[in-house]
């Protein structure tokens, strides 16, 4: 459904030239939960921005439902690594921004935004400024803002990266539930291996310098995952080991 075809991306700045992605090819299937896992700086955000049409690849292309992607698509929603809620808008108005761009009438915008906020359990704070919310709540607003557009694909860039473990686990379960309920295709970036295993159908492993996909794993655990102890599952433990070995994290730590 979403095909990444031989995508390369190079950042040229006066100081340096960074090869953020080299010849990445990957197909994302309809309805699946796909995670990108890899060390910092391996091009995960870059690829996600390209998938959203926010950036153009230096080479290669993205094909979405049979058509080459050129620019931002209505059917693809984005949850940013650093949320970026607009402080001059209250929570509901933040969620409405995409609907405004589509010319949705105010009353409908309001209804849809409140609905999206209800999905993430935040309808009570619809009218407060975003900077009065905790980090976890802000991240949920970021999710609601994307969900309000009913996207077919949801791109999430390390949405729980800045959160404490407890909040993180709660949100992991919530996102997993939302995904089963909505049937949206999700591409989820993280460098937390356990998080990727808990959430995903498949995991694409990235390596850096230059950024590339080195393996794609099938997780193969049954859903729903929150109903059993994924951490303790033997297959999960083995997968975790192999991912960590594959990424060479051990070696790096030892060196």
């Amino acid at each position: 459904m979403l095909e990444i075809e031989h995508v390369s991306h190079v950042y040229e700045t006066p100081q340096r030239r960074v090869e953020a992605l080299r010849d990445v090819s990957l197909g994302i299937r309809e309805g699946e939960f796909m995670s990108f896992v890899g060390p910092s700086g391996c091009g995960k955000t870059t690829l996600l921005r390209i998938l959203d049409g926010l950036a153009e690849p230096s080479d290669g292309r993205i094909v979405f439902n049979g058509r080459e992607l050129t620019g931002v698509s209505r059917d693809i929603g984005f949850v940013f690594q650093d949320i970026n809620l607009l402080p001059w808008r209250n929570v509901r108005e933040n969620v409405e921004i995409g609907l405004e761009a589509r010319g949705t009438p105010a009353a409908d915008r309001r209804r849809i935004a409140l609905e999206a906020l209800r999905m993430v359990g935040l309808e009570d704070v619809a009218n407060v400024p975003p900077y009065t919310l905790s980090g976890g709540m802000q991240q949920r607003v970021g999710v609601a803002r994307a969900l309000a557009l009913h996207p077919k694909v949801l791109l999430m860039d390390e949405p729980f990266g800045h959160l404490d473990n407890f909040t993180r686990e709660t949100l992991q379960i919530e996102i997993s539930k939302l995904w089963s309920k909505l049937g949206t295709t999700v591409v989820f970036v993280t460098h937390d291996v356990d998080e990727a295993i808990f959430l995903s159908d498949r995991i694409a492993l990235f390596q850096g310098k230059p950024g590339r996909v080195t393996d794609v794993l099938d997780v193969g655990l049954p859903h729903p995952r929150w109903e059993f102890n994924v951490r303790g599952d033997t297959r999960a433990i083995e997968m975790r080991e192999s991912i960590i070995q594959h990424l060479g994290v051990r070696d790096e730590v030892l060196v």
Partner: protein, 268 residues
């Protein structure tokens, strides 16, 4: 380690209850020394707080202050607000259109760098010794900081906010209206404060240098007559303009843009 540092800092500080009183106490101490100096210093040099306060009351009760004050205020408000409005307007144009920016920025930067008091003779040549000359001067001195700040504000929008606008499909106009402009408000307000401060300076300077009117007239007259008490009473009134400016901008920000303080507090 850190516990020791904290403990030392605690000891070095006056107790919490007294701390808020410290500024007031400092002012009171200076005033007291100043007043005491009056016992042996010639009052023409620096007068005394009590004498100045007395002169201030007299300026008010005898009604001497009202006409000059009204004149000054009128010039300040007209010249200053036109300057600030034009500065924001031009800044928005330069921020929005690269071409306008490229064409105007050498002039803007040159004029901003020029100590603009030097153009008073030119202003007089243009419009003669008149209220218009004073207004023009205030306008010219007010324009630049707010203009430059507006441009800077539009150029320095948090990349994350721009990404949000792009990802959620905002049109170019909506991007400007809903992202760039609000994001530039803190810069613009800071520019307004600086510009308004310059407008006050422009007001006084033009009243002393273009033609004697308003508070500038009083300052020169009292100075020439060695009426130091009254002179300083007028100085005090001029200072109040600056204080009012800062308070006004703070009020505007707190009332209409409470998110600025909120978002800044969150960053910490």
């Amino acid at each position: 380690m850190s516990g020791i540092v904290v403990a030392q800092r605690r000891r070095a500080r006056p107790s919490r209850k007294l701390e808020p009183l410290l500024p007031a106490a400092a002012v009171a101490a200076v005033l007291a020394v100043w007043q005491w100096s009056g016992l042996f210093l010639n009052p023409i040099l620096i007068s005394t707080p009590a004498a100045i306060a007395g002169d201030l009351v007299q300026l008010v009760t005898r009604g001497v202050i009202f006409d000059p004050l009204a004149e000054s205020l009128e010039e300040l408000v007209i010249g200053g607000s036109i300057g600030i409005a034009a500065g924001i307007g031009l800044g928005l144009l330069m921020g929005r259109y690269e071409l306008v920016d490229k064409v105007l920025s050498p002039f803007v930067n040159f004029l901003n760098a020029t100590p603009l008091v030097v153009i008073i003779p030119l202003v007089i040549i243009w419009v003669g010794i008149s209220q218009n000359a004073r207004l023009l001067f205030i306008f010219l001195i007010t324009l630049w900081p707010v203009l430059l700040n507006t441009v800077a504000g539009m150029r320095n929008v948090n990349r994350g906010y721009v990404d949000v606008g792009a990802a959620f499909g905002l049109s170019e106009t909506d991007m400007l209206r809903k992202i760039t402009l609000p994001a530039a408000v803190p810069y613009i307000l800071a520019g307004v404060r600086v510009s308004a401060g310059l407008a006050i300076i422009g007001m006084i300077v033009s009243e002393m240098e273009v033609s004697l009117t308003g508070l500038g007239y009083l300052l020169i007259t009292y100075g020439n007559s060695f009426l130091t008490g009254r002179l300083l009473a007028v100085v005090f009134i001029s200072s109040m303009f600056g204080v009012a400016n800062v308070m006004l901008v703070k009020w505007v920000q707190a009332t209409f843009f409470p998110w600025i303080a909120g978002a800044a507090a969150e960053q910490r």
